[in-house]
Symmetry: D3
Subunit: 330 residues, 6 copies
Amino acid sequence: MTPAGIVADPALSLPNIPWEDRPAGSSSVVWRYSRNPVIPRDLLPTSNSIFNSAVVPFDGGFAGVFRCDDWTRRMQLHRGFSEDGLRWELDPEPIRFDSGDDEIGTFVYGYDPRVVRIDDRWYVTWCNWYHGPTIGLAWTTDFETFHQGENAFLPFNRNGVLFPRRIDGRFAMLSRPSDDGHTPFGDIFYSESPDLRFWGKHRHVMGPVANSWQSTKIGGGPVPLETSAGWLLVYHGVITSCNGFVYSAGVALLDLDEPWKVVARARPYLLSPQTAYECVGDVPNVVFPCAMLCDADTGRLAIYYGAADTVTCLAFTYVDELVRFAQEHS
Amino acid sequence: MTPAGIVADPALSLPNIPWEDRPAGSSSVVWRYSRNPVIPRDLLPTSNSIFNSAVVPFDGGFAGVFRCDDWTRRMQLHRGFSEDGLRWELDPEPIRFDSGDDEIGTFVYGYDPRVVRIDDRWYVTWCNWYHGPTIGLAWTTDFETFHQGENAFLPFNRNGVLFPRRIDGRFAMLSRPSDDGHTPFGDIFYSESPDLRFWGKHRHVMGPVANSWQSTKIGGGPVPLETSAGWLLVYHGVITSCNGFVYSAGVALLDLDEPWKVVARARPYLLSPQTAYECVGDVPNVVFPCAMLCDADTGRLAIYYGAADTVTCLAFTYVDELVRFAQEHS
Amino acid sequence: MTPAGIVADPALSLPNIPWEDRPAGSSSVVWRYSRNPVIPRDLLPTSNSIFNSAVVPFDGGFAGVFRCDDWTRRMQLHRGFSEDGLRWELDPEPIRFDSGDDEIGTFVYGYDPRVVRIDDRWYVTWCNWYHGPTIGLAWTTDFETFHQGENAFLPFNRNGVLFPRRIDGRFAMLSRPSDDGHTPFGDIFYSESPDLRFWGKHRHVMGPVANSWQSTKIGGGPVPLETSAGWLLVYHGVITSCNGFVYSAGVALLDLDEPWKVVARARPYLLSPQTAYECVGDVPNVVFPCAMLCDADTGRLAIYYGAADTVTCLAFTYVDELVRFAQEHS
Amino acid sequence: MTPAGIVADPALSLPNIPWEDRPAGSSSVVWRYSRNPVIPRDLLPTSNSIFNSAVVPFDGGFAGVFRCDDWTRRMQLHRGFSEDGLRWELDPEPIRFDSGDDEIGTFVYGYDPRVVRIDDRWYVTWCNWYHGPTIGLAWTTDFETFHQGENAFLPFNRNGVLFPRRIDGRFAMLSRPSDDGHTPFGDIFYSESPDLRFWGKHRHVMGPVANSWQSTKIGGGPVPLETSAGWLLVYHGVITSCNGFVYSAGVALLDLDEPWKVVARARPYLLSPQTAYECVGDVPNVVFPCAMLCDADTGRLAIYYGAADTVTCLAFTYVDELVRFAQEHS
Amino acid sequence: MTPAGIVADPALSLPNIPWEDRPAGSSSVVWRYSRNPVIPRDLLPTSNSIFNSAVVPFDGGFAGVFRCDDWTRRMQLHRGFSEDGLRWELDPEPIRFDSGDDEIGTFVYGYDPRVVRIDDRWYVTWCNWYHGPTIGLAWTTDFETFHQGENAFLPFNRNGVLFPRRIDGRFAMLSRPSDDGHTPFGDIFYSESPDLRFWGKHRHVMGPVANSWQSTKIGGGPVPLETSAGWLLVYHGVITSCNGFVYSAGVALLDLDEPWKVVARARPYLLSPQTAYECVGDVPNVVFPCAMLCDADTGRLAIYYGAADTVTCLAFTYVDELVRFAQEHS
Amino acid sequence: MTPAGIVADPALSLPNIPWEDRPAGSSSVVWRYSRNPVIPRDLLPTSNSIFNSAVVPFDGGFAGVFRCDDWTRRMQLHRGFSEDGLRWELDPEPIRFDSGDDEIGTFVYGYDPRVVRIDDRWYVTWCNWYHGPTIGLAWTTDFETFHQGENAFLPFNRNGVLFPRRIDGRFAMLSRPSDDGHTPFGDIFYSESPDLRFWGKHRHVMGPVANSWQSTKIGGGPVPLETSAGWLLVYHGVITSCNGFVYSAGVALLDLDEPWKVVARARPYLLSPQTAYECVGDVPNVVFPCAMLCDADTGRLAIYYGAADTVTCLAFTYVDELVRFAQEHS
């Protein structure tokens, strides 16, 4: 057991995790990277915005799948690589997924990817349009070739997040059933699959909380992190002001064996839109976490989040502090 | 091969099918039973309405699962029996489904059932509330005990209709993904399952048609009937007038092996709300088919449909005429 | 104490109450008058509809205040008289309320009146437009001259119903705060006044019930009837179908001393739109009770209700049966 | 000058006008035909409904252009003929309009026609879909060949009604600008054209009236009739109940020389949905007048109107009574 | 009479009023404090935002009741103190109101407080949730203990503002009846109470103005200031752009004896969202005044307003200039 | 033929066109002026904002018609003059249009002007309120006196843009039919007029593009520029995020002789809201081009656009680059 209570795994030792110490005087459990955004909207010459993207350790450095909306504002997924998790090189060509089935493999648009390693494959899930938004699923071993499988669910769904290991022998996924627009409702559900092809055992995990930052809808964020206190889930929640949605980030702990049971759930948010890059952009007032890196040796946690649906940012915390925050503010 | 082109099966011989000849002078492909409604709203002393219900041959006569809204207008499912398919006796007690899992087995409300025989079991699918409407699934061998399994899909879904045999070795279901209200959109999708527990291979079947009786949404109706020309699917479609939805019934043929491919689809409706019992009631202007009986020897087809969300009615046709209608008006 | 448990009062002896026995074979707690509607839409030559109206015993016969929408569909209040509560004569001229204050006394439109006797005055409350719908208040001793006071509340409000006696020394009123349109929400509140001029001590009484005939909103109906079991409150509730609102009638018992406390509340409705005159008219599917007559000697209860926002109807029951229904189906 | 004040014209002598005397005891200015509907919904074997149609004297009898929605509920225009204006024969084939321009001549759908004779041509105007609803325009001399011209206006528009003669040397039309759905607003405007090709001099005529049967929107009805008191305009108005729109008919008088100036406008409606065939059908609660026949010798007026968007009906009055009604109830 | 026309009162001498002279070159009647915001969003470690708050002279310095939304975004009221009205110390604990009645005293949430001194008590009014937003009322003599009374009105109401003295012997309050959401309408009403417990004599004061910054809704701001020209009312108004509400501040003068009569009302706004702290935040584009300090000796006026629903700001003017502005731009 | 392919005309030589070279390192086809905004919101002492305005060469310098919303936020048109197109002097008095007809000449409000020279007149078109927004039309020879004619179309319409010369002998205009609010749809149409008084030959030009920056609606921008490749049309398009509309600018080429035929249309936008002055203001996230200046000798193009509905800005490009961009990204 590591100091942070993380269920240890050699892969989790991540000495080159991007990091910045908590600013002097700050008492926030999560703090922002001082040089945010880490990825500007125009890193690619044809990109309108780069945000809500997923990053994993890869080959001594980092790889990721990035949501890049282009100048037509078509939503695409691009792969990218980085030595330090801060300076990124993105492939200007969108990912072309291999699929044996034209019906499924015709890419209309995709967004908000998550990436998780299970065994020796990296799985990508994303919001994939197939007669409505649903959860697309693909895997890669090299971030060169991406093999696309069946969509996990029927439309309408978003924010599909795989667990990093099997639960009770089956793959497990969180998702947020939706409608076909700017859905004004949304709970997090849990589903299982023996083979990543057929899904069932759908369970309700948690829903919005009245009179709070998460009163309209919630959805899963980064891949859950296994800790001795439960699955550490960072997620987003939405409150509706008279001028639209405001997206913030929060934290919960799910039962390790029955992850649809909520062990703890912090009432306060972790991060809400407060900086210029979070409040101003294509969609004002959005903080949307999609990936976390963790160094098991130090308990450091680096959270990647989209800001204002325009840029990609970083925030930091420690696993044990985050777990404690979830427990103590539940 | 029967004259009607029905894929023959001893079980399909149904000499006691409820029936009435086409009225003199009528040229409609489908005609109403002259003594509609067959089931009045108050057949049970506590029923507000009985409609959108499913009927199958059973034990020499007929059995069914009926949507009975009670005087609180809570939506319940009741079983019922009949000698002739016309005079019905309904159990005043709602069906209590057996389920080993409290999470799934807690019945909140259910409606719009379909019943289909596969092998030696009758399977019931219905719109089942589990943190939103989804597709509930149960089976019975005797219409006494009903064994409830996992919900087939995540919410929000309605109009789950099982095929009467496996497709490519797997169970197959049509459904209509929805939102959490009076959904103003809706396409029919197809899904497969190896075990009725985990579902996948989701395919889009068909959607609304602009400027027509089915311009708002469509959804599967009775269990599809296998014919040499394809799966005969009677379904409902909705048009939105300035005073709300109008539900009519239509017909299509689906490919036998790949039922998500539409072979033929009649542009005109089969039946639209035109009689007093279809135009006036708890929801005016609703014709909603949920079950069909077929006698393979004569090709007779009896369609049970809900009218005005209030009563249950019957209409008649011949399989071969219906198939031809779908083909010729496609 | 009368057999029906009504708190006796000589005024409550009403031998000429309109009445019809329960039809043979009926087991409903409330049954309709066989000659409904008692008041047709065109009783006045200029009336488009006459409904949602209030009736009281008066001068050996009956008097009432009637909502009469004219051929411009302007909503007006008319007085009327009847010997038997069945055949009515209405004044073709709308009531002109006397008010010393032009600001309040300018009649824009009014509807859905209730009438109650307290001491030696009859008080009329109605939905009165004053920069929005609110509760108008007037009194008369002779149904000739009507003295208008201040509106009870700020807009937006509807369905103001006075109790027939003071509670804790103060006048008491139920009402249903609203918005400025076809309000899609609504709870019943209770308020008190020392003088019918200033109102306060606002208390929440009860709200809608999910998945039921009263899931959208509820509002008070006739003046509550004092019984030993509590205030007998008949009220309306609304469910929203895809084709609009459906108004039904229900029953509850409120605490005699603290009427904002619900003692019992029947889950089933008493009466829902099922006849042609309730389902078809200016607003389809409306049953809207506004007045009750009670004969304490026999426990007979005659309920006047508007049907389809078009005509006025009658239904009957016994007080003790209604009380028991509320208690047993709570 | 005829007794009715109609500006006389030999063509207006119409001894075979369909007619039925005012029922005994009726004091209504307009009364319904006792055998309504004159045209049932299924007069054509493929018609779902026939309504909102236009009729003119033709060749000793009558001809007309009819809105016939077929069993797909596609909106089409059909021509028809009648000896007596009561029994009609309709061409089962929709009208095919001749147009030299594919862009304009491609018929998507059309509805709610009006027909008017100017000089020796009959002009048809209708709601014509061209990237939205607008006003289509065609002419015929024989009701065999119909020559289609340019659409009068940009979308979105409905209820285009030509005046039967030039105003100040120019053709003149009323219309009701709309949006692309079930428009919840609508005023009547006036426009002029030197050549039926280019339109301008747009003037506002009149709009809805608060708290009345015409509080949501209004639109022109039959072709205005010239009288010494002004242009007699029968039109429709809409009020929005909690269950949708209610369409009634009203009357106004427009200035003969500057028809955008309203001389008189009756506050009460002429006809509101009150019969079963007006209250029940594809769209409940619709009375929608589209044509009038007038016999100048007797002052008789026969008004054709659509009922419940399902059937075609007739109502009768006298021109002078209608003029007086508009003047006295203004 | 003071130079500014303020109705003098020793209490109004306020030499330590926060102040900054009008910037050189400015011709605006109201100018912003150069160091805005005076209260940052994170003054309390647990505050998400501090805004729409009320300040009064107290004990030689200043006290106030502050809206502090915490990190769950729950809306709470906190008390605070300041020497100079610029640097504030806030109690990190929310105010706990004393109430003898659990039904009323259970605090769900509260926001947008106003504070006014009448006789020797300070009264706090705020938007208080009791089965919907309504006007809560409490008083204190020391800003330590707060005594809560009955809610002034039924829901749904917001922006309750007490007058600083009795009118015609009764307490008087402005308020803005609402609905249960982001209300898209709203007028200011006036009400009276003999005892702060029962309220009546409701009068309409003023509503929105078409085609202006106050076209959607308006609501009272700071406690009105008595001047010889009338009650000086600073208030907020809302215009709806395609991207939501924009809140600005305006000014009116109300009759001293009949404050529901508007004596003057400036057409232009005083202050609209133009700075970064007004345009960017939890709700972009909000200027929302809630309190004013006035020094009768100099006529200086300091207006506290919430900006972007995030921070608290100050703006300055002179009473006589503001009165003149209201009069001259009416 | 000029190098840029512009159809040459001495008037198009514009050596004093405002200009700034493309910034080093930029590869954008259009680049912003480094000192944006060129016109601040408060250039006039009474202006709330100055934006969506039109500029033309005039008398050796430049003149323009400017949308200036005042402090009541009433929308007005003001004329202005400039030597260099950068520093502007605006008339503080709104333009008073001369019209012989009170019905048309009563100015309620106007906005979003365009100005074009045809022959020796400058024509102004704008969104003019006449019982709804429509297209106002006036001309001037001196920017002193403005002669107003008839509105071009019936309401509801916006963004009327005249072509700079006759097409097929007739005046030609683009416009965007709308509804009466923040219209959520909108296509560009083309119309012709022989006399600028009567309009017809309406043709559909182009509509929104799904899944792009122009998915909600589009509308014409500056007066089209004639090039050998077609009419160069810069226009605006809107995408709807969960927080409202985002307006960007795009480019298309229309056929020279039949301008309703689209020759090329760039899929990417030219300019989207990305700077603070485009993202923050009265309406966040708006880039709205209304005028272009072109120097035929150099091919320089200066585009004036409104930013955030608050200020006026400039961007630059070359005609030939813009034409090529439209062609290559079509």
